[in-house]
């Protein structure tokens, strides 16, 4: 099975389709693939504890999905570690590039 790197840059409070991107992650994981959802720019707004965007709730509990939030984007928006939702980990650009350049990774920007 493949490893998918899904990059979410959109704010679900501004756009309607981040929820469908989360659906894609769930479907890919359900088909046996490994999925990393990397939140960046306004995409990190769902990573706030208590945010009701609906995307993280879809990903929660999926063993094959890892959620990383870009630390730079979080800092820009004043979202500190103690304010992160459960199941979300800090991600660095170094980590992102390592994931992107690993063998057989399929990257999709949204």
């Amino acid at each position: 099975m493949a490893h998918y790197l899904l990059i979410e840059s959109r704010d679900p409070f501004e756009y309607g389709d981040p929820v469908q991107f989360a659906d894609l992650a769930v479907d890919l994981a359900g088909a046996g693939n490994q999925v990393t959802m990397f939140l960046v720019q306004n995409g990190v707004l769902v990573a706030r504890a208590g945010a009701a965007g609906g995307t993280l709730q879809k990903l929660a509990g999926e063993a094959r999905i890892t959620v990383l939030a870009d630390e730079f984007s979080l800092r820009e928006r004043g979202i500190w570690p103690e304010k992160l939702a459960g199941g979300v980990n800090y991600g660095s650009m170094d980590q992102f590039v390592d994931l992107l350049m690993a063998d057989d990774v399929k990257a999709v920007w949204h």
Partner: protein
């Protein structure tokens, strides 16, 4: 130290309009520092990213001078990326779509940028470890 791997990125966003250009430049920077070669195919408004005629400006609302404002330019960042590539032995190949350039009259670029077309992007993608297509909104 060069890794022997190559990343290709296509970008369409113009400068100073979204966080996407900043993110793209951060990705290129991190990849070059890891010794990966990076190809960038700049399409549509993204061909203005390396314009060398970009200028820093003061902020009359805040009353700051050019020096105090310390306004960054995307062309300055791109020049710095070409320099960073040299430090690790990686290669940065930045291609501006020629038709997009002509449409915009955006012809004066920082050193290192070259003119090309969609065929370059196909070749880049075929020869790269991975390709990231960053669509515009």
């Amino acid at each position: 130290m060069a890794s022997g791997k190559t990343l290709t990125i296509s970008i369409m966003d113009p400068p100073y309009e979204s966080g996407t250009t900043t993110t793209m430049l951060r990705i290129v920077d991190a990849a070059l520092k890891k010794g990966h070669n990076v190809n960038v195919f700049a399409y549509e408004g993204a061909v203005a990213l390396p314009l060398k005629t970009q200028a820093a400006h003061p902020n009359p609302v805040k009353g700051t001078t050019v020096e105090e404002q310390h306004h960054p330019t995307t062309s300055g960042f791109i020049s710095a990326l070409f320099e960073a590539a040299g430090l690790t032995g990686a290669k940065l190949d930045w291609v501006n779509c020629g038709l997009c350039v002509d449409e915009r009259g955006a012809t004066e670029w920082v050193e290192g940028v070259r003119r090309g077309g969609p065929g370059d992007f196909v070749k880049f993608a075929q020869e790269s470890t991975n390709t990231l297509v960053i669509g515009t909104r």
